[in-house]
């Protein structure tokens, strides 16, 4: 049976409509992973030297032991961020005479096919061989390896279990993050507990009494069982909507009403962003970008090119992040948009409205950076004008070559659905153009004038928008059949 499942997964990959794209994506991510693995491997080879440098008073293995639990804590957090739930579409199998155990075991075991399974070993095994096997303490090697396997399995199934729990009840996420925050607070800031001491005593004990390695394996096994039982009890819900029970309310975004139909459309798109997983996480990531200034501006010497770049990013992040996938966000109801009484002009006006709205919010959010110098505020304001005048226009023009459907309910990290050539190409004008304009006018005049020039171009484009709107509409009218056709291909 497992063979049949594997074969179906295999066929699903090759026969999917996006096979070419998923191949390319697999190769790119595969190369990235290989690079990451190579780094881990090399780091592990020199880990003993590093540890002896950082903690000169201790043995390398002692320091290693005291850090191991931290590693698994970080591993858990990154799994929480990045790991995906395994996706065998179980629905077609549930009504067939196949034992549930089989389906669940298959789901569980294949989920181990992930970079997270390998990374702890790459990081630890070379080190352990070096300091234990080569230094005549080989008896400690297998117990350590066994405990690492146990902890890896624990982390793996714990994060899967947690994600499934969160899917059904978001409070689990709050609880988990709160628990992590408390642990970190208590350890690092309050010194109430010490994970390093706990970690050291656990793994020192395992080195001393190898049979103790059974305990990490037991916790791993227990977690596997817990996850297994959870799946078994909830397999019917798999693939079905988990959030049915929640009450949805009819909300209203009234302040956009004044803008007529374009305003209605913009309000609609705000709802789209707030009520669907992928655009929502795109928005949250964009908001997180507001903190990038802390990275750039806290340096004693602020690089002025950096200032332009940071300003471009922070006031235009929404245009860049969200806009690059237009109009795919509306792919599932694009036919409705075309067939209803919505003119292409209003459609584009609503996009400009949306971009202006979000850019204004980000401009306001980043004003506190004026603390690091008034030029920063000037740069932000000028790039804000550039973004709503020019970046938005670039993004909307390129949107006409984007025919790829996006499923709104999937998360956005490592999600390559809807990614195509247009997203890569649009980057060039988006990032290079302002830098070129800035560079040239800086060369001809000075920094402040160069910033003003950027803002000036932005204003020109905003003032001449009716003209560009017409261009966009005629571009769209030529392309709309192809766009709609592409969106119908799921």
């Amino acid at each position: 049976m497992n063979r049949a499942f594997l074969q179906h997964n295999w066929l699903a990959f090759w026969r999917s409509k996006n096979t070419g794209r998923s191949m390319a994506v697999s190769i790119v991510t595969g190369l990235g992973l290989l690079y990451l693995f190579a780094n881990l491997f090399v780091a592990s080879l020199f880990l003993d030297k590093v540890l002896e440098k950082v903690f000169p008073s201790r043995d390398a293995i002692e320091s290693f032991n005291s850090l191991l639990l931290y590693y698994f804590l970080i591993d858990l957090l990154s799994r929480f961020q990045l790991q995906e739930l395994p996706t065998l579409r179980v629905k077609p199998y549930l009504n067939l005479p196949i034992k549930r155990n089989k389906i669940i075991n298959y789901l569980s075991l294949t989920s181990l096919w992930s970079g997270f399974t390998l990374s702890p070993f790459l990081l630890t095994v070379p080190f352990l061989i070096k300091v234990l096997v080569f230094d005549d303490e080989a008896s400690g090697f297998f117990p350590m390896l066994t405990s690492i396997i146990g902890l890896m399995i624990f982390n793996h199934f714990f994060s899967l279990w947690l994600k499934r729990k969160i899917n059904m009840n978001a409070w689990f996420m709050v609880g988990f993050l709160l628990a992590i925050a408390i642990i970190i607070l208590a350890d690092i800031y309050l010194d109430a507990i010490s994970i390093s001491t706990v970690s050291r005593s656990i793994f020192n004990a395992i080195l001393k009494y190898p049979y103790l390695a059974i305990f990490p394996v037991l916790t791993g096994g227990l977690m596997y069982f817990l996850h297994y039982r959870f799946l078994k009890n909830n397999l019917y819900l798999e693939e079905l909507r988990k959030d049915n029970a929640k009450e949805r309310s009819t909300t209203d975004i009234t302040f956009l009403r004044g803008f007529g139909i374009a305003g209605e459309l913009a309000a609609l798109e705000i709802k789209l962003i707030l009520r669907n997983k992928r655009p929502k996480s795109t928005l949250i990531m964009s908001m997180a970008f507001m903190l990038y200034g802390l990275l750039f501006y806290t340096r004693p010497e602020i690089d002025q090119t950096m200032m332009i770049f940071a300003g471009l990013f922070m006031t235009g992040i929404f245009i860049i992040n969200y806009g690059q996938f237009m109009f795919s966000w509306q792919a599932s109801h694009f036919d409705g948009i075309l067939a209803n009484k919505i003119s292409a002009e209003d459609f584009f006006k609503s996009k400009f409205l949306l971009f202006t709205l979000f850019s204004t919010v980000t401009l306001l959010l980043t004003t506190p950076y004026v603390y690091f110098g008034w030029k920063i505020l000037l740069a932000h304001a000028m790039l804000y004008l550039w973004n709503i005048g020019i970046s938005s226009l670039i993004v909307l023009s390129f949107a006409n070559w984007n025919y790829k459907y996006i499923d709104l309910s999937k998360g956005s990290s490592f999600n390559w659905q809807g990614v195509g050539a247009s997203q890569f190409i649009v980057g060039f004008p988006l990032f290079m153009l302002p830098l070129i304009v800035y560079g040239l006018s800086y060369w001809a005049f000075n920094q402040v004038v160069a910033m003003l020039v950027i803002g000036f171009f932005g204003v020109i484009m905003i003032l001449s928008r009716p003209f560009w709107l017409k261009k966009l509409v005629s571009l769209f009218n030529g392309k709309r059949y192809a766009i709609a056709e592409g969106f119908r291909n799921r």
Partner: protein
């Protein structure tokens, strides 16, 4: 009201729509029938300018739908779930559709009251997004949204397919009512020959993209259609 000239559309060398000439008058209730793949949905999509025709044109009130957007003012339609905005509640969707035609919320609310029976308590104030509704209920939302627009031309693609028998009967009555005073032109496709003959005064039968029969509905129509479909291979 609607005039089609020399319309053809093909995919990969196979003709899916081929209509040399068709005239639909104001107030006609058209039933569109044909087996799967006969080209009904493609025809609808071309009439709504969602697909570009290879040759020919569709004129709505003498204006080509592919070059002018005026038809959107007097045409409403529901073809499939791709017309629904799935992350809205049904109320929000109705309000949105209303706003496109300048119809206020109070007016929409009072219109919706008329359809309380049709919704049988499963649509309004249920605290669900459209994506959480069953297929049948989604279909109800789409059909009512198209009726709320007070169209002069109404296009419905297989509206009877996913809904329960009581709703089917109610929908038939609704369609009969709006066509009764011969002001609204309706085109309804269906696989259910009973329903479609009941709500139409003219039946268009499609096969391989062509309209092979154009019948004024009378008491023999149903038998005639059944005879055609039972020998079809």
């Amino acid at each position: 009201m609607i005039q089609i000239n020399n319309l053809t559309k093909g995919y990969n060398g196979i003709t899916v729509v081929n209509i040399p000439e068709l005239l639909i008058n104001k107030g006609e209730a058209i039933g569109l029938v044909g087996n799967n793949g006969a080209g009904k949905t493609t025809l609808f999509r071309i009439m709504l300018d969602l697909i570009r025709a290879d040759t020919g044109e569709v004129l709505s009130k003498d204006e080509n739908v592919a070059t002018s957007e005026k038809w959107k003012h007097h045409t409403s339609s529901f073809l499939d779930e791709g017309f629904l905005i799935e992350y809205l509640t049904p109320e929000e969707y109705f309000y949105f559709i209303g706003s496109l035609h300048g119809i206020g919320r109070a007016h929409i609310d009072s219109e919706l009251e008329k359809y309380a029976d049709f919704f049988s308590g499963e649509i309004l104030n249920r605290g669900k997004y459209i994506r959480d509704l069953s297929k049948g209920n989604q279909c109800k939302v789409g059909v009512i949204a198209s009726l709320l627009q007070k169209p002069e031309i109404l296009l419905l693609d297989e509206p009877f397919a996913n809904i329960d028998p009581s709703t089917q009967i109610r929908l038939k009555n609704i369609i009969k009512e709006i066509t009764s005073d011969k002001q609204v032109t309706t085109i309804v496709s269906s696989h259910d020959l009973n329903h479609v003959t009941e709500v139409s005064d003219r039946i268009l039968l499609m096969e391989k993209g062509a309209i092979i029969k154009d019948i004024k509905t009378n008491s023999n129509t149903l038998a005639e259609l059944e005879a055609y479909f039972s020998v079809m291979k």
